[in-house]
């Protein structure tokens, strides 16, 4: 591909007079991608850089580390911790449950319509997030929700008396899992499809048991894409706000809700502290994605 395009260019370079070719090429070469880059710089890169620089400035615009140091205030640390805990828990639960479902529908010998129905539903459910998802879980596990009521009347189990609350860490985690599992299924099914039949046959020929085949072939091959997806799910949950806000109002102090309150009303009484919180969020999701890309490139060599 590269060879052909290169030779094309040299041919056209030879046939056209050099000055004319240059005059024509320079502007048109960039015309097609110019709108994209202008858009990305103006509305994605510059606003983010603006906040990141603002995190290192005080009100007078001088360089300072005070904002980042102020992130160690107890309520901000608590917000980061609970955010990380919810994101990690929902990512891990979502990942393992999603993997189990993916293996069940691809390798479990279930009827083929189950596979396509599950994949279709996963596409829908992974995009069913935000405010409506919170409503659905309030109607299910809220104090008057169907599951709460049935557990209480039929099984005599009052989950609220046992300390469960939908407006809590586990309530939020359980809700996030609703879009985390389908996302895992959508991403990991191609990886499981990538396990070649020959590998299983080769392992069997060499006398491997099923357990050995899984432990020494399947898990090592799936592992990088599994870890990569866990990280993606983590970042996905970490930046989410609408579900948590509609579910808990501001009673659960996660980072996006803290930042939301700060943007609306400067609750921290320091505009640049808001920048620092945003900076912290970018650092965490950014780091997560660096690992994601690293795992992704490691996993891709098996998926050809």
């Amino acid at each position: 591909m590269t060879d052909l395009s290169l030779s094309n260019q040299t041919i056209s370079g030879k046939t056209a007079p050099p000055s004319e070719a240059r005059a024509l090429r320079l502007p048109t070469q960039w015309m097609g991608v110019a709108p994209f880059f202008i858009f990305a710089v103006m509305f994605l890169i510059l606003p983010t850089l603006y906040l990141m620089l603002g995190a290192f400035q005080n009100e007078a615009g001088e360089f300072t580390l005070e904002n980042l140091i102020a992130l160690s205030e107890p309520n901000i640390v608590a917000a980061y911790l609970i955010s990380i805990k919810v994101s990690l828990a929902s990512a891990l639960i979502g990942a393992f449950a999603g993997l189990a479902i993916a293996i069940a529908i691809v390798r479990g010998g279930l009827p083929s319509w189950i596979r396509s129905a599950t994949l279709t539903f996963s596409g829908v459910a992974s995009n069913f997030a935000g405010v409506p998802l919170a409503f659905a879980f309030l109607a299910t596990l809220g104090r008057l929700g169907l599951a709460t009521v049935i557990l209480n009347t039929v099984f005599g189990l009052n989950i609220y008396a046992h300390g469960f609350n939908i407006l809590s860490f586990w309530g939020l985690t359980l809700t996030y899992v609703y879009f985390q599992i389908p996302l895992m299924v959508v991403i990991i099914v191609p990886a499981i499809d990538g396990l070649k039949k020959e590998w299983g046959e080769a392992a069997a020929t060499l006398g491997a048991t099923t357990a050995q085949y899984w432990r020494m072939v399947v898990i090592p091959v799936i592992w990088p894409s599994f870890l990569g997806t866990v990280i993606l799910l983590f970042a996905n949950a970490f930046g989410a706000i609408a579900t948590a806000y509609a579910l808990t109002g501001s009673s659960l102090n996660i980072v996006p809700i803290l930042l939301y309150a700060q943007i609306r009303g400067d609750v921290l009484h320091n505009a640049h502290l808001g920048y620092a919180i945003a900076f912290g969020m970018i650092v965490i999701t950014g780091l997560a994605n660096v690992f994601y890309i690293w795992f992704r490139t490691r996993s891709e060599r098996w998926l050809k």
Binding site: F43, A104, V124
Partner: protein, 263 residues
């Protein structure tokens, strides 16, 4: 193998229970408004609410503009990279993935601070400009999906030959893009468009922080103040998402599977 199939069924049924119970519970809850009998009262109230109609229409229009803007930004870039600047592909792919890295709340926070009333580009100065900024923000959010969809579509056609054929017939660049390339990737563009629609229609963070009368903030407001209407709205929102995804699936059947690619 028999035990394997047994466990596969167990996993599948547990998963199905986790995903269907909330939907059933929500549907049941939404019909409980009238005492002692199931009814669609909550739906009637919601659909008849003037604010529902106004905010829903606002978000539909915002979604349409978002799709148009997304197509205008993404299609020429993706086309041009395939045709002339393949060396830019990694950079562009990296940029299109950034909205997945940078949370929406951070992006809109940046807008508010950078494009405030006193800035050289005061997007927040009046309603029209703020509406435009919301559409821009939505286009940013949908960038990863739009770019991926269009790029997949372009991969199945032979961009170079089509372009050269059009040039030989005397077509200019705008003709090539609108009458040759776009019709060929139309199905891919439409799948990206429906996904964008599903994401934008109930979006809360950006609309709320830019103070726009969109569907997402309306949903949140109803959730904070009503009992049965939120459940009805959740079912309606699920139906919309389902509709968008089904359209994408149906469209994918019409997409070209492969093409002759001499290079």
């Amino acid at each position: 193998m028999k035990t394997g199939r047994f466990w596969a069924w167990v996993v599948f049924i547990l998963g199905a229970a986790y995903f269907f119970i909330p939907l059933i519970a929500t549907a049941e809850f939404s019909m409980r408004m009238r005492r002692g009998a199931y009814s669609f009262d909550a739906y009637q109230i919601v659909l008849g609410d003037a604010r529902f109609q106004a905010t829903f229409m606002y978000s539909v229009v915002a979604a349409i503009f978002t799709i148009i803007l997304g197509v205008l930004v993404v299609v020429p870039a993706a086309y041009w990279i395939r045709l002339r600047l393949p060396q830019l592909r990694p950079i562009v792919e990296f940029i299109t993935l950034l909205p997945l890295v940078i949370p929406a709340i951070v992006i809109v926070f940046g807008y508010i601070r950078m494009y405030g009333s006193n800035s050289p580009l005061p997007f927040l100065a009046n309603d029209t400009a703020t509406n435009a900024l919301l559409v821009i923000g939505y286009a940013t959010l949908s960038l990863p999906y739009m770019y991926r969809a269009v790029d997949t579509g372009l991969r199945t056609i032979d961009v170079r030959t089509l372009t050269e054929a059009a040039q030989i017939l005397g077509a200019g660049w705008s003709t090539i893009i609108t009458r040759v390339i776009l019709p060929n990737v139309l199905i891919a563009v439409l799948s990206g468009a429906f996904l964008t629609f599903a994401i934008v229609i109930g979006e809360f963070t950006m609309a709320s922080l830019l103070n726009r009368p969109a569907f997402g903030p309306y949903l949140q407001n109803i959730g904070a103040n009503r009992a049965y209407e939120p459940a009805a709205l959740a079912i309606i929102a699920f139906a919309i998402t389902w509709g968008c995804m089904s359209l994408i699936q149906i469209l994918s059947r019409f997409a070209p599977k492969s093409a002759n690619r001499p290079n």
